[in-house]
Amino acid sequence: VTAWRPTIAEERWLNVAAPADRTGGWRRSGLLPRCVFFMLGLAAAGLTYAFFDLVHWRTGDWLAALILVAVAEWLILSKRLFACGIEEALELSGLILLAARILHAHGHVSDVEAASLITAAVGIAGIRLLNPLLTASSIVGFSVVVMLWTPAASRSAALISHPAGGFCLAVAALALILGTVEYRRPSHDRMIAWLIVVMPAAAYVWLGGLDGDGPGSTRVLPALALAMFAVAALTVGIQRRAHPPLLAFMICMLCVAYELRRFSGLPIEARLIGGGGVVLGLAVALDRYLRTVRRGFTSRRIDETTAAAFDLLQLAGAASLAPPSATAADRFKGGDGTFGGGGASGGY
């Protein structure tokens, strides 16, 4: 038994909620409490920093960072918390604060050095905690370092001359390939899964998809690259029966659809209604087609582990589409024809 984190066997047992004797005493929490514990951890970290800042000790920042990391390690090693949220927030905050303090102590540092150190802090936290979100974030952070390294003149929207976007796409493709390997440790598998989902979106951001003003010819390559990745992800997702490639496919298609606005010439409302209608039609058709299990595929819910959290999210999402409050009288002027919102933009 390694004391500093669960062994592979212990982590596997943790994932099937086995009795404590098999998990080596390690404990983890569900999705909803994990998120809440993470938020509480961030709040505690912020308050710890604020306290040491207010006492004006010369070593206050260092002390705050070390205390945060020490408490996180104590929770991990002594209380055997794994993926519980609070120890993750404390460790992450402590390491980032430490990195910020080092940067501050060195005085004049370049953007590349600053980004590298913060990325390294997030990466160390991710690897230490076996947290896929943090490891994926550190890889995205590394793409920032790549972008900062790139001479400004070569940061054009063309794929080949945009190393940060190319890097993200390359990592996404590599992750898709690495997804074929069978991993004993579930968290390693999840790290790959997060990369498959996050990196195409990061690639699109770097390739200038969101600035919207590049010349048409330079927009073709990113859209084409993402479309190709989408097809590959869909194929892999269906073949392997894995969710991350399917999510990556959806994200890529969204990016491609956004890019197509330059070529369709349609007004935005037509694209939104048309695109939404097509997706709705496809989803309804797929839901109906898979109402009976076909080759193992089904549209029914079969896994209840994260159902409660996603159901709550869905309710919040539906409520957010409702008309605005009656107190927002300035948004709705009853007598002058101003439309107070009908569940859409509310901006009439």
């Binding site: 009795p19 409490p33 939104l272 209604i273 079969i302």
Partner: protein
């Protein structure tokens, strides 16, 4: 890729999980059964949101060209078609995800249509906000007809809008917005929902819809009480209400093994305590220390309650 099939088989062999659960879990782990439920849900939500956003822009830009009456009638027809399609899909399969979202789309179009009609013709005059009450009733009836939690949440959001509750939680705590009136509106709405929930329960209504009522009542109640806490005239009443609600919800959450309510109780209780500590004021270092103790305390309490829930389940 990873598979926990061997672990599940071992647990099953030792009798720690039941046959049916084991068969299902092993099928999922071995990927002989694969559900695209969450992908479909995401796609359906995104498509409905896109259509509604597009519709909003369409209404705004083409009002003069098409004319209000034609638009209102066309929208009503589309909403009717959505309800008809939802009914058909639901007939095929009662738990159809597609049906739920097609009906939600219909309900959102009705919202847009009614709001637009009221803005054009001013049927309700100065009481224009009553169209939100009308929407709450229409969506409520639809929610019961389709047993749809999504449309129910739309109905409750419309009701809250009619009562005058701000949708953004943060805005209730802002200095200008945290008035006794805004808190009172949210608390009245929560009380109304609790009455509705009680009637629903006594009539043996759907458990899914009751859940929606309970979640909304809890949030609105806490928001209202926190607005009082953040204001200046009803701080004590606000604190008492938050702490009482937190206690009741935590106990109910533990009794019924519903972790979300335990989380609400602890988190909102901690927020109220933090607001109170901020109001007491004094030496900033001391206040920050008190806040830190509260946050750490909340985490410890939540951890212990979480442990109790896990032991029970």
């Amino acid at each position: 890729m990873h598979s926990l099939e061997s672990e599940l088989r071992e647990l099953h062999r030792e009798g720690l999980i039941e046959d049916a659960t084991a068969v299902r879990a092993i099928a999922i782990e071995s990927r002989s059964l694969f559900s695209v439920f969450e992908e479909l849900r995401l796609a359906l939500y995104a498509s409905v949101a896109a259509i509604i956003a597009g519709l909003g822009i369409l209404l705004k830009r083409n009002l003069d060209r098409i004319g209000p009456l034609a638009l209102i009638l066309v929208l009503a027809a589309i909403a009717g078609a959505c309800y008809a399609a939802g009914t058909r899909l639901r007939r095929d399969r009662s738990d159809s995800l597609a049906s739920a979202y097609v009906v939600l789309l219909g309900a959102l179009i009705i919202s847009a249509d009614l709001g637009f009609a009221e803005a054009q013709f001013h049927w309700l005059g100065a009481d224009w906000a009553r169209h939100l009450l009308l929407l709450a009733i229409v969506h409520g009836i639809t929610a019961y007809a389709f047993e749809s939690p999504l449309v129910m949440s739309l109905s409750l959001a419309s009701l809250a809008g009619w009562v005058g509750v701000e949708r953004a939680f943060g805005s209730l705590l802002l200095a200008g917005a945290a008035t006794p009136a805004s808190g009172g509106r949210a608390l009245s709405c929560a009380a109304l929902l609790l009455v509705w929930r009680e009637v629903h329960r006594r009539l043996h209504g759907s458990r899914v819809l009751q859940d929606v009522l309970e979640h909304f009542a809890a949030h609105l109640g806490f928001w209202g009480a926190l607005a009082w806490c953040a204001g200046s005239t009803r701080v004590i009443e606000g604190i008492v209400i938050v702490l009482t609600m937190a206690t009741v919800l935590i106990r109910a959450g533990l009794r019924n093994e519903r972790e979300a309510f335990v989380v609400y109780g602890v988190v909102y209780g901690a927020i109220a305590t933090c607001i109170l500590e901020g109001k007491i004021g004094g030496e900033p270092k001391l206040v920050v220390l008190l806040l830190l103790v509260t946050v750490v305390g909340a985490a410890i309490v939540l951890w212990n309650l979480h442990k109790r829930l896990r032991v029970r389940s």
